[in-house]
């Protein structure tokens, strides 16, 4: 009997052993569930606009899905559409940024139309706007952008930041 067992062992030495991956599977399963959860929970409410380096803040307010005005070091965008350049804004006289105001007015009209069709005029996202400003932009640009937003009917402004 003993001889028989040892014989069998010896026979197994030559055979290719199976890789034991059960423990790795455990890790991967946990990782997969974790990633799936964060993927669902986050939802892409606000995506950072490329080329804009947001400032860091301790604010804990959750971002909401709204219209986004992005102010990079050189350009001003509404959604993904180029509206104006920062230099034009700095050089321009007056507080209002005309091209931005025009586009915002259109967007506002569209929002109002949708709200009217829905029959819910007091929609949460109405009149809300998110400003994603680069950390290097001067205050005068931000001031003009905020003023323009307010004048176009978007008085509830959220400044996007990166959470510490």
């Amino acid at each position: 009997m003993i001889r028989h067992k040892s014989k069998r062992k010896r026979r197994n030495i030559g055979k290719p052993q199976k890789l034991r991956i059960t423990s790795m599977m455990d890790i991967l399963t946990v990782l997969l569930l974790f990633l799936l959860k964060s993927f669902v929970a986050e939802g892409e409410v606000v995506t950072p606009v490329p080329g804009v380096e947001l400032p860091v803040s301790a604010s804990k307010d959750q971002p909401v899905a709204t219209l986004v005005v992005a102010v990079s070091e050189t350009d001003i965008l509404l959604g993904s559409e180029l509206i104006s350049t920062v230099r034009e804004v700095i050089e321009g006289t007056g507080m209002k940024i005309e091209p931005l105001a025009a586009r915002l007015a259109e967007a506002k009209e569209k929002q109002d139309e949708i709200a009217a069709l829905r029959g819910t005029p007091n929609d949460d996202s109405e009149g809300q706007i998110t400003i994603q400003g680069d950390r290097e932009i001067p205050f005068q640009v931000l001031q003009k952008v905020m003023y323009t937003c307010q004048q176009s009917g978007f008085a509830s402004i959220s400044l996007a930041v990166i959470k510490i």
Partner: protein, 156 residues
Amino acid sequence: MLNRRKQTAVGELVRDDLEVLPLMNLFVVLIPMLLLSAVFVEMSVIRMNLPFEVATEEQNEIDGIEENLLLAVTIREEQFVIEGKMIPTTAVPRGGENERRELQAALESVAGAHPENEEIMIIAEAETKYDTIIGVMDVVRAAGLPQISLLGANHR
């Protein structure tokens, strides 16, 4: 002897590992995909409400703050200046590593002396960087003054 051998062979077949390789293949594809799409920088927002009718800074300044402390912190290039009615004007030099901590300490002493006041104005110059303003807003909130107004210094 032969019989026994057969039995062990059957036993081995039952004890064999699960066939997890296809699942592995799936994971190998899914995990990089999810890792790529995962958001590691969490974003948040600072909410601001602007008055609807008139949004000029002058109006903000007048709005119902007569009996108030009129507390204001001005961001200048080389210093933060804390001003207000009934409090001594304090200047906190900028540029040091502890500028934010010093500003917070100064603001906390003011807020401690006037606990009923929750309002503060942040006055920024035209060239003040957005990052600095957000930083000061954080400091001000941490110092216990959550009602922030943002104004522009007269630069015209």
